[in-house]
C-alpha cells in the first residue's frame, strides 16, 4: 500500500490528506483494499495493453526486415515504405497548411467576433463535422469534392503552372493528393477549432481590457493578448490535428488514386499513397511475408505519429512556463 498512500501526503489536498491517510491505515478494510487494487489493476492493464501493442507490432515487423529480399512479396522493405512515408507526411502537411489558419479563424470568430449568445450554437455546428465518420467523408470526397475542384485545378495549372507544385498534366478525375488533403483538412478542422476555441475563451479578461484601454483595435488586442496566451494551446491543437491527419485511413484510401512515387506535384494522377491507406487497400490480399511487411509499415506510421505527439508535448511543456497561464 505504501506506493499509493505515500504520495498522497505531499499533494495539494493539504491537511486533510494527512487525516485520511491515517484513516486508511487504521482501518484496513476489505472494501477499501479491493477497490484500490481494482483501480490500480486497470491502470496497469492499460500499460499492459500498450506494451502488447508495441511487442506484437515489433515482433511481427522483424521478419519483414530480416528476411531475404527474394522472399518478400513487395521487395526491399525500405524502398517499399519510402513513397508511402513520404505520401503520409506530404498529404498531412498540405492538409495542415489549409486547416490551421482556417481553424484559428473559426475559433477566433466563435470566441471573439460572433455574438455571445450564438457562440455556443456555432461551436456545435462546427463540432458536427467531427461527428461525420471517415468513410462518409470518403464518399463525399469522390462524389462531390473531386468533380467540384477539378475546374479549380485546371485554372491553377493554366495560370500557376510555372510553380513546380502545380505543374504536370491535371488528373482527369480530380482524385489527387490535393483533393485528399482538402478532405483531411476538413476532418481535422473541428479538432483544432474545438481546442483553440476553448483556449481563446480562457484569455484573462484583464489582459484583453488592458489592451483595449490603451487604444488597441480588436485585431491588435487579439494579437497582443489572445494569441500569445493561446500559443501553447494552438500548437498542441495543431499537433493533435496533425496526428489525426497522419493516421487517417479511409478518406484517403477512397479519394486518392494511388501510385508508388515520390512526387511533389499535387494536381497530377501520379500521387504518393499514404501508409495507412496502403495498408487498408493491400491488407485483404496480402499473404505470407507481405502481411509482415504491411505490419512493419504500420509500425513506421506509429513511430511517425508518436514523434509528432511527443514533439507537441515537449513544445507545450517548454512554452507553458512562459505563457500567460501562470
Amino acid at each position: 500500500m505504501s506506493t499509493t498512500t505515500q504520495p498522497s501526503t505531499g499533494t495539494a489536498g493539504g491537511g486533510s490528506g494527512d487525516d485520511h491517510h491515517e484513516i486508511i491505515h487504521s482501518s484496513k478494510r476489505f472494501g477499501e483494499r479491493l477497490f484500490t487494487q481494482l483501480t490500480k489493476g486497470s491502470g496497469i492493464g492499460i500499460l499492459v495493453i500498450l506494451a502488447a501493442v508495441a511487442t506484437f507490432l515489433v515482433g511481427l515487423s522483424i521478419p519483414a526486415l530480416t528476411a531475404d529480399v527474394k522472399d518478400l512479396p513487395y521487395g526491399n522493405f525500405w524502398s517499399y515504405v519510402a513513397p508511402f512515408a513520404f505520401g503520409t507526411v506530404w498529404a498531412a502537411a498540405l492538409a495542415m497548411v489549409m486547416a490551421v489558419p482556417v481553424s484559428l479563424g473559426i475559433a477566433l470568430f466563435i470566441s471573439h467576433y460572433a455574438p455571445k449568445r450564438m457562440a455556443q450554437t456555432l461551436g456545435y455546428i462546427i463540432d458536427l463535422l467531427a461527428a461525420v465518420p471517415s468513410v462518409v467523408f470518403g464518399l463525399w470526397g469522390i462524389n462531390t469534392l473531386a468533380p467540384a475542384v477539378r475546374p479549380l485545378f485546371l485554372w491553377l495549372n493554366e495560370n500557376l503552372g510555372w510553380i513546380p507544385l502545380f505543374s504536370g498534366a491535371v488528373s482527369g478525375t480530380g482524385r489527387t493528393v490535393l483533393t485528399a488533403a482538402i478532405v483531411l483538412a476538413v476532418m481535422v478542422l473541428p479538432i483544432i477549432t474545438a481546442i483553440t476555441r476553448e483556449v481563446f475563451l480562457q484569455t484573462p479578461r484583464l489582459h484583453e481590457e488592458a489592451s483595449l484601454a490603451l487604444g488597441a483595435t480588436k485585431w491588435e488586442m487579439i494579437r497582443q493578448a489572445v494569441i500569445p496566451f493561446g500559443m501553447p494551446g494552438i500548437i498542441s491543437a495543431s499537433m493533435l490535428g496533425l496526428g489525426r491527419a497522419l493516421g487517417e485511413t479511409m478518406a484517403v484510401a477512397m479519394v486518392l488514386s494511388p501510385d508508388d512515387v515520390i512526387n511533389f506535384r499535387v494536381l497530377t494522377s501520379q500521387n504518393p499513397n499514404t501508409i495507412a491507406s496502403n495498408i487498408a487497400l493491400s491488407f485483404p490480399e496480402a499473404y505470407g511475408l507481405g502481411v509482415n511487411q504491411l505490419i512493419a509499415t504500420g509500425l513506421v506510421l506509429f513511430i511517425i505519429t508518436l514523434a509528432v505527439n511527443m514533439t507537441a508535448r515537449w513544445v507545450i511543456a517548454r512554452r507553458s512556463e512562459f505563457s500567460g497561464a501562470n
Partner: protein, 356 residues
C-alpha cells in the same frame, strides 16, 4: 467604385463621424465588387457562380482594405480585414458541412426503407437487399468494445485522480494514455489482427477481434473524459465525506461518481460515437460477410462503415443498387453518430450538477 469617391466626402461633412465609414459601406462594397466580378467574367466568357463568388470576395477584401485605410487609417483597415477574414473562414467551413449532409441525405434517402433494415445481403445480386447484418455487426462489436473499455477506462481514471496522486505509476499511466490517444486506428486494427492470428491461427477474422481493436481506440478517450470530470468535483465534497468517517472507496462510489456522472456518461457516449464510425481497423480484423452473423467469436462480421466501403468500392453489376445501399448506409451512420452526440449533450445539459 463610386463609393470610394463619395463616402469620404459624406463623412467629412459631419465632424462627429469624420474618419469613419458609414455602417452600410461593407455591404455596399460587397455588392459592388460582386457586380464588377460578374461583369468582368461575363465579358471574358468564364461566367460561373463559383468564379464570381471567389473573385468578388477577393475584390471585396482588397477594395474594403483600400477604402478603409484611405478613410480610417491603416490600423482600422487591418482590424476590418481581420474581422472579414475570420467571418469568411467560418462561412468557408460551413460549405463542406452543408454539401456533405445535403448530399448524403438526398442520395441516402433513396434506399433508407424498411427493406434496408430487415434484409441482409445473403444471396442478393443487384436490386433489393439491406444492411441488417451490418447493423447487428455494428451494435455487437461496438457493444463489446464499450463493455471492455468503459470499466477499464473509468477505473483507471479513478486511480489517476483519487489514488495515483502524481506517483510514478500514475505519471507513467498518464503518459502512456497520451501515447495511446495517438495510435492511428489502422495500427490498432493491425494489433488486434496479429493477436488473434497468433491465438486462433493466421487470418482469423471475427467480431471479437474488431471489438478488441476498437477497445484500444476507446480506452484512452474514456480515461481522458472521466479524468477531466472527476477533477471537476470539488475537494470540499470529498473532505466532508471523510469528516463523517466515510472510507475513501465509499466516498468515491457514493459522492464523487454521482456528482460527476452526467459528464462521465457524456464522455462515454462521445467515445462510442467516435468508434462506431471506424472503418479501417474493422476492415483488417472483422472481415466481410454478406450474411447475418451474431456470433462474435466465430466467423467474420460486417459493420456499417465496412458495408458502406465495400458496397461503394467493389459494386456488383448493375452498380446503381450497390451505390444506393452505400449511401443509405452512410446516412444511417451519420444519423446514429449525430444522434449519439445529441444524446450526449442532452445528458450533460440536463443532469449537470447544479453547483452554483
Amino acid at each position: 467604385m463610386s463609393t470610394a469617391v463619395t463616402t469620404p466626402q459624406e463623412a467629412s461633412a459631419n465632424s462627429l463621424i469624420a474618419g469613419q465609414l458609414p455602417k452600410y459601406t461593407p455591404w455596399a462594397t460587397l455588392l459592388v465588387s460582386l457586380g464588377i466580378a460578374a461583369g468582368l467574367l461575363n465579358s471574358v466568357g468564364h461566367f460561373s457562380i463559383t468564379a464570381v463568388a471567389l473573385s468578388g470576395i477577393a475584390l471585396f477584401l482588397v477594395g474594403m482594405f483600400a477604402l478603409s485605410s484611405a478613410v480610417e487609417g491603416i490600423r482600422k483597415a487591418k482590424d476590418r480585414l481581420a474581422r472579414q477574414m475570420v467571418s469568411l473562414f467560418f462561412l468557408v467551413a460551413l460549405i463542406p458541412l452543408i454539401s456533405l449532409i445535403a448530399g448524403v441525405a438526398v442520395r441516402g434517402s433513396e434506399r433508407l426503407d424498411g427493406k434496408f433494415f430487415s434484409y441482409s445481403m445473403r444471396n442478393i445480386v443487384g436490386e433489393g437487399g439491406g444492411a441488417i447484418h451490418a447493423v447487428y455487426g455494428t451494435l455487437i462489436i461496438t457493444g463489446i468494445a464499450t463493455l471492455v473499455s468503459v470499466p477499464i477506462g473509468m477505473l483507471s481514471a479513478i486511480f489517476l485522480v483519487e489514488y495515483g496522486r502524481n506517483g510514478r505509476l500514475a505519471r507513467s499511466i498518464t503518459f502512456f494514455v497520451d501515447v495511446m490517444t495517438g495510435i492511428p486506428s489502422i495500427v490498432a486494427g493491425l494489433f488486434a489482427y496479429t493477436v488473434f492470428s497468433i491465438l486462433f491461427g493466421p487470418g482469423t477474422k471475427t467480431g471479437l477481434a474488431g471489438a478488441a481493436a476498437l477497445s484500444v481506440l476507446m480506452i484512452p478517450t474514456v480515461v481522458r473524459s472521466t479524468e477531466e470530470m472527476l477533477r471537476l468535483v470539488s475537494n470540499d465534497l470529498r473532505e466532508s465525506a471523510y469528516a463523517l468517517g466515510v472510507p475513501k472507496w465509499r466516498t468515491v462510489l457514493k459522492v464523487v461518481l454521482p456528482t460527476s456522472i452526467a459528464g462521465i456518461i457524456t464522455g462515454m457516449i462521445l467515445a462510442i460515437a467516435r468508434v462506431i464510425g471506424e472503418t479501417a481497423p474493422l476492415l483488417v480484423t472483422a472481415g466481410l460477410t454478406s450474411s447475418l452473423n451474431t456470433n462474435p467469436i466465430n466467423g467474420p462480421m460486417t459493420t456499417l462503415p465496412v458495408f458502406v466501403y465495400y458496397s461503394y468500392v467493389t459494386p456488383g453489376i448493375p452498380q446503381e443498387p450497390y451505390y444506393a445501399r452505400a449511401w443509405a448506409g452512410a446516412l444511417t451512420l451519420i444519423l446514429i453518430v449525430m444522434g449519439l452526440n445529441l444524446i450526449g449533450r442532452l445528458v450533460a445539459w440536463r443532469f449537470a450538477p447544479k453547483s452554483r
